[in-house]
């Protein structure tokens, strides 16, 4: 494992800084940060799967939705306590993740992206048709139990969840498992040619990704207290997750966290000027700039800056 003391120091500094944050900023800003925390969780989930293995998912809301709907239905319709409904939601999402995994055995590249997109669309259609008495149909659900009151508590919960998931995934991806998953992204044949069972590795990536997405989706729905299927199963939401991950720097875990915060605040400050579809221009613009100048994302820019400073102080 390649972990140095300053890695842990940076994590500690980040966590301490975030603990003091609510005293420094307004409630409104705090709510924006809460959204950023959840977006970061979803971007981490996407990163573990797509950032690493190159199997680009356009259907992450399918996984997030499985987690969110499972716990929402269990708590609201059946009065199940959240202590049980949230683990159940995570479990259901992981089963769903394996379902999503099946096409990955056969197709990759843009076809895989299309299949995952179809999964998301399929789920959007299904929640409207199958048992709308449970799912709330087109209108979704509201009045779902919330876990916290007020922005400050909501912030701490979302941050705690994001930081622990982020740290755990970061540690895990620092091991040889992370190396092997990256290797799949670079050359799957050669990984098989090294005597490794790539199916098992990919399944592990899907399960991890689904675990994070399911947990994030479940907590998010208990923060919002409602589900709106049109906003959840929306290509816009997919783009937000993917752009956050690659903007920050795919396959780094830290990058997607950065990216989620950066993108959330960018969109928040630009909101007055962007009433609707213009945000697509932002996504397109960012993607184009990244592709042309910095395919490795902000994480890489910061790393270069750091090593430049180090280099200067040495000379």
């Amino acid at each position: 494992m390649n972990i140095r003391w300053y890695h842990l120091a940076l994590w500690a500094a980040f966590i301490i800084g975030m603990i003091y944050l609510p005293q420094l900023v307004s409630k409104g800003t705090l709510r924006t940060i809460i959204f950023a925390n959840y977006l970061a969780i979803f971007a981490i989930s996407w990163d573990v799967l797509s950032g690493r293995t190159g199997y680009v998912s356009f259907g992450h809301p399918f996984l997030i939705g499985l987690g969110a709907y499972t716990t929402a239905i269990l708590t609201k319709r059946f009065g199940v306590p959240v202590e049980i409904s949230i683990p159940a939601a995570v479990l259901v999402t992981m089963v769903g993740g394996s379902l999503l995994f099946l096409p990955a055995l056969r197709v990759r590249g843009s076809y895989f992206a299309l299949v995952t997109l179809a999964f998301m669309e399929l789920m959007y259609q299904l929640v409207q048709v199958i048992r709308p008495d449970l799912t709330g149909g087109t209108r979704g659900m509201s009045g779902i139990q919330t876990l916290t009151r007020g922005a400050v508590n909501g912030y701490y919960l979302s941050f705690g969840l994001m930081a622990s998931l982020g740290f755990a995934m970061w540690l895990l991806m620092k091991t040889r498992l992370g190396t092997a998953l990256s290797a799949i992204g670079m050359n799957e044949e050669a990984v098989r040619g090294s005597g490794l069972n790539t199916t098992k590795l990919k399944l592990a990536a899907f399960m991890l990704s689904a675990f994070v997405a399911g947990l994030g989706g479940a907590f998010y729905v208990h923060y919002l207290g409602s589900i709106a299927p049109r906003a959840l199963f929306d290509i816009n939401f997919v783009f937000t997750i993917i752009v956050a991950a690659i903007l920050g720097g795919a396959s780094t875990i830290i990058g997607p966290i950065f990216g989620a915060f950066f993108l959330t605040f960018l969109l928040e400050y630009l909101r007055p000027y962007l009433p609707g579809a213009e945000r697509y221009f932002i996504y397109g613009g960012i993607a184009l700039l990244l592709y042309m100048y910095e395919p490795k994302g902000l994480h890489h820019v910061l790393q270069m800056a750091l090593s430049a400073i180090k280099g200067k102080s040495r000379s």
Partner: protein, 242 residues
């Protein structure tokens, strides 16, 4: 005694085309066998079938007496057979050492996560194939073709094979690099490694092998010592396009 590698009556049909037509041969432990033939003769297809990347239409493949003909590629490699490719396929965004690390990995998720990385072994493998110490942290894009071939050999060795299949190891190399790789293979042979080698560079191939088989249009046309096979009329004719 059972042969280390035994290929029997191998047939591969792609639709109407028979790419491998009833090919049989054996490789004994410590032996080195050349597989020669003109372009398109079906040499690489035979490699791919031995490795399980392409499934044979019929015929059997035994490794140390065990039938590996139906196993997936990764399992065959775990049983002790591995190959290099005509075009080296390194992991482009990893260092030389990380590339070798993938070859050394155990096929167990828990061991991958909790096991220790054997940095000494990675380094020893890299140096044993003749990579320079200052190259170990370079990325593959910074390496010459010769060094890429060495890296590929190191990654193949990392899986701890008892038989190595080398596909066009000399392609794209300079004269000096050919000499280096040739020396490397000969020293591995002295240590008892078993080889099956495909190469168009017959001059470079000759000192590396004990025996040869010649393939033309998917069929075995000759077998024997390297010299016998090279003098065989059918082989000469096939190379001349007869």
């Amino acid at each position: 005694m059972t042969s280390l590698l035994k290929v029997s009556n191998l047939v591969k049909k792609f639709g109407g085309l028979t790419a491998t037509h009833d090919v049989s041969f054996t490789v004994e432990k410590g032996d080195s066998l050349a597989l020669i033939g003109p372009n398109g003769a079906g040499k690489t297809t035979i490699f791919s079938q031995i490795m399980g990347e392409v499934r044979q239409t019929s015929g059997t493949i035994h490794l140390a007496g065990q039938d590996i003909g139906a196993m997936p590629t990764a399992t065959r490699i775990r049983h002790g057979i591995s190959r290099t490719y005509q075009v080296p396929r390194p992991f482009s965004d990893m260092t030389v050492l990380e590339n070798i690390r993938v070859g050394l990995m155990p096929d167990s998720l828990t061991q991958m996560v909790f096991g220790r990385i054997d940095h000494d072994r990675e380094e020893a493998l890299a140096l044993s194939v003749g990579l320079a110490p200052q190259d170990l942290l370079k990325s593959p894009s910074e390496l010459s073709m010769g060094d890429l071939r060495k890296l590929e050999l190191a990654r193949t060795m990392a899986t701890n094979p008892s038989v190595m299949l080398l596909d066009e190891v000399f392609a794209g190399l300079t004269v000096g690099e050919i000499a280096q790789i040739s020396e490397l293979i000969q020293s591995m042979r002295r240590e008892g490694m078993t080889f099956l080698i495909v190469s168009h560079d017959l001059k470079a191939l000759e000192p590396l092998v004990d025996r040869a088989i010649a393939i033309n249009q998917g069929q075995k046309v000759a077998e024997g010592s390297f010299k016998e096979v090279m003098d065989n009329e059918a082989v000469v004719a096939s190379y001349l396009g007869g």
